[in-house]
Symmetry: C2
Subunit: 147 residues, 2 copies
């Protein structure tokens, strides 16, 4: 779809989608969150065609989600690491994963655990101030010009 239209839309969801609005990008970010940094890591993990991976990595770098960093001069080798915006995006993916586990979790499926304690983690989206789950709050959008 046309990313340009979304980029400067007034809806935050649209803007978010402009940065990471396709499945490959999200899966790459998920992998990056699990510690992968290198081209071949992503390629083998995802089974993505290399030309597509090249393009996706480039758009994620341009969108400010990943940073490309040279880790070896000779031979020239680059790795891709999450920026702050990229790291901040991971909880959104985890919320998505939690939702999918709840509703479409039949059969073998992995689960999110605390790396230190091993405890299962169930992501939940709440209002930061009150801690109330968003599913309990009727919401609307306030447009920029409104009272």
């Amino acid at each position: 779809m046309d990313i340009e239209k979304l980029s400067f839309g007034i809806c935050p969801v649209g803007r978010g989608l402009a940065r990471a609005g396709d499945a490959w990008s999200m899966l790459i970010l998920r992998d990056a969150g699990l510690g992968r940094t290198r081209f071949d890591d992503f390629q083998k993990s995802l089974g993505i065609a290399p030309n597509i991976l090249t393009r996706r990595l480039a758009t994620l770098v341009e969108a400010g989600m990943l940073e490309r960093r040279r880790y070896s001069e000779r031979p020239p080798r680059d790795e891709y690491v999450l920026t702050e915006a990229g790291r901040d995006y991971l909880p959104v993916l985890q919320a998505l994963g939690g939702w999918a586990r709840k509703h479409f979790g039949e059969g073998p499926i992995s689960e999110l655990v605390d790396a230190r304690s091993g405890r299962t983690i169930t992501p939940l989206v709440v209002d930061a101030e009150t801690g109330v789950p968003l599913s309990k709050i009727p919401v609307t959008l306030r447009q920029p010009g409104d009272a």
Copy 2:
């Protein structure tokens, strides 16, 4: 991309993307969450081509996110309403929107408010049990076969 591969993958994020993994689907669900139900509502709101909208609505219905309901027999008219899975998905979108507002919120952008109190809502993804933000927790995935 190839949805089939994702559908039965063991990663919850992949499964989630198989249900709602493209920008149009997410925007349709966002609109549905804002109360829109009819074909033309979606079409005008999103500026999406009608053939594409038809296809997206059909896949969302098949994925169990929307339910198609006849609201008039003569003339025959259908509307699309969120299923429980679809409603549950909205907080994920709101988390995405919150993330985008934080990192790419320059210029006019709308904000999420409580429909009753009018208070601004800042979505945050936490662990449901402890209330700790996921951004503070180092996480891994436990594969289905693991101890």
